[in-house]
Amino acid sequence: MTKSIIFVALLFLSLRAAVAAPPKDTCITCHAALGGDLAKPASQFEVDVHHQAGLSCADCHGGDPSDDSMNAMSHAKGFRGAPKKNQIPEFCARCHSDAAYMHRFNPQMRVDQLSEYLTSVHGKRLKQGDTKVAACVDCHGVHNILAVSDTRAPVYPTNVASTCARCHADPAYMKGFDIPTNQFALYEKSVHAQTLAGGDTSAPTCSTCHGNHGATPPGVSSVANVCGTCHVMNEQLFEKSPHQAAFAKMGLPGCVQCHSNHEIVRPTDAWVGTGPQSVCTTCHTPGDKGYGAAQAMLADLTHLDSSLTRAAEVLNVAERAGMEVSGPKVELAGAHEDLVKARVDVHTFDAAAVGKLTDSGVEIAAKSYQAGVAALRERDYRRKGLGLALIAIVLAIGGLYLKIRQMESGDSIGHRGDVERKAREV
């Protein structure tokens, strides 16, 4: 009987072990034991997004992971080995271009990476036999590929620029390509990089303007389209402005003519006008229509900006004094919106249109300023009132004190402080 119980228990345990054991993967077992470079794929694959999704080495490289012998890597068992550089895009695309297969993992996953890549400068040059250009693994990694949403991934928005810079900022590596290598240094100074570093992952990085898999420099004629993807209003106004035709005629590249391409810093009002920082004077000279418009626009913007500052200062003083000025502050925020709109309207290069918006803002700012002045006047009035009230209160307290003294020290009440006697009398 005892033997039967032991037998049944052992049978149960062995079945349980068979069910729970992970599938055999001799690729990992052997490579981990090999050490050196050959062990790296095994150790790195642990964090790889493909491993997380349940894929194994054999899903990419073929072979038979259940075979303990070297036959596991025989062509007879479908072993494909490591692809050559020029084979990598198609190697990855076996799965990544297969919509039916990819949807098993993520229904929203794009499957056009290969077709996009083939339109890119990288893809075209690779096809021509240039193996220095980037293929999938150069940006995503090889056996340690992380999801794009993983903050550690080299293609996570905040990491993209430094990933591109690994090649594009290396003069030695880029020798022979005849393109600059200072893009990353310039980009790092830009408002885009600063915004991205501030945690706004919607801010543009290299791939936002150049594309990721289809990376290519935008041509002169398509620059406005690239910038207009985000800066819609600015692009529309520019397209309708007299500059559009003039720039096209002169072969100037739209937005970047004034704003630069990689080093896009926050513009100031001084860019308009005719001062030393003006970009208008690059083309316009005294006496021409554009020169006058630039001067007028700068004057209007400066007037509104200083009106806003003046009103905000007085309202802040009033607020710090505890005055309720939230209403005027909300109105002033509206005037600030007028300034923002006017700065966008600069792209019409129409001084009258800009002036209309700044006039509206100046009017609101003046009202807010007056509200602030009135609040400060009210503060002074309150303090004077307080002073008078305190005088009255002090007099009343003095009167009460004298009354108590008179009551408690006069002949009619008894000597001062002897309230006990009076209490007994009562």
């Binding site: 939230s326 309150r382 307080l386 009460l400 108590i404």
Partner: protein
Amino acid sequence: MATLYRKTLNWLDERFGAGSVEEFLRHKTVPVTRHILWYYLGGMTLFLFIIQVLTGILLLLYYRPTPNDAFESVQFIMTQVRFGWLIRSVHSWSANLMIFTAFLHMFSVYFLKAYRKPRELTWISGMLLFFIVLGFGFSGYLLPWNTLAFFATKVGTEMAGSVPGIGKWLLVFLRGGQEVTGATLTRFFGFHIAVLPGLATLLLAIHLFLVQKLGMSVPPSVERAVAEGRTSLRNMPFFPNFLLRDMIGWYAALGVLGGLAAIFPWELGTKADAFAAAPAGIRPEWYFLFMFQTLKYLPARILFLEGELAGILGISVAAVVWIMVPFLDRRIGFGRLTRVFSGLGVFVIGYIIVLSALALR
């Protein structure tokens, strides 16, 4: 002047019984001891309560208790109504000063052992009044419907929701639903201007009646000194001697309130937005900080209870013990001090100050 006063007293005597008013005024005396300063705190709290009632009535003329109008109506009071800023600021400052003087009054009564026989009910009615005053503060804080008040009420009612057994019911009862909404605002308004004033008036009447009936308590140390013949007990007539001194304090309080209202008007903040993220460092009013901080320090679980639940239970038990002190402090007798309860009082004050300071860091 004296004739008018006499005539008035006679007129009142004819209607309330022979000499009853004068009797009332004559018989009330206040012991003159080195502790006399503490005797002014009850009157000061009452004075600030009256200020609250008067300014509250004036605010009611313009305040509208709906989520759409509440903030704007207070803003209107602060900016458009003549002296509205003064009324609203005095109401807010006076509320805080009243709670502060109520705290001081409670602890002075505690340390002078004024709760001892036969004044147990005076202590209990005073404690209930104190809780009502805290209720006034909690309900009134939400009424301007600004961001801080909205989220502080959310946190406060969540704490009430942790009360064992009735927590869920209490949360829905206070909020008028699962969330802090317009229903909460109208409810709090109702509590603030009808329910709590009604209860406060009743309890105040009982409290004042008991004070009048039992007279002012003499501190045990003075009582013992008098009994041992080391000193004689001196008394001061309440009217007019003590009342005139009271009035000096009230005038000074008026000056302080006016100064605070003019120099530091009570701010309004921004209108509450239920969909906005809670501002960082949200915390309740200063008088609830020690409880708030206590709950923050508690671990997630204490024995078999959730930390917050255990905290609420602990605070509730402490409050009941505090109310029952006149019955627990049995060793106290004529002229004798019980050091254990004095020590407990010192610990409670220290605990409140330290925890509140930590919460304000």
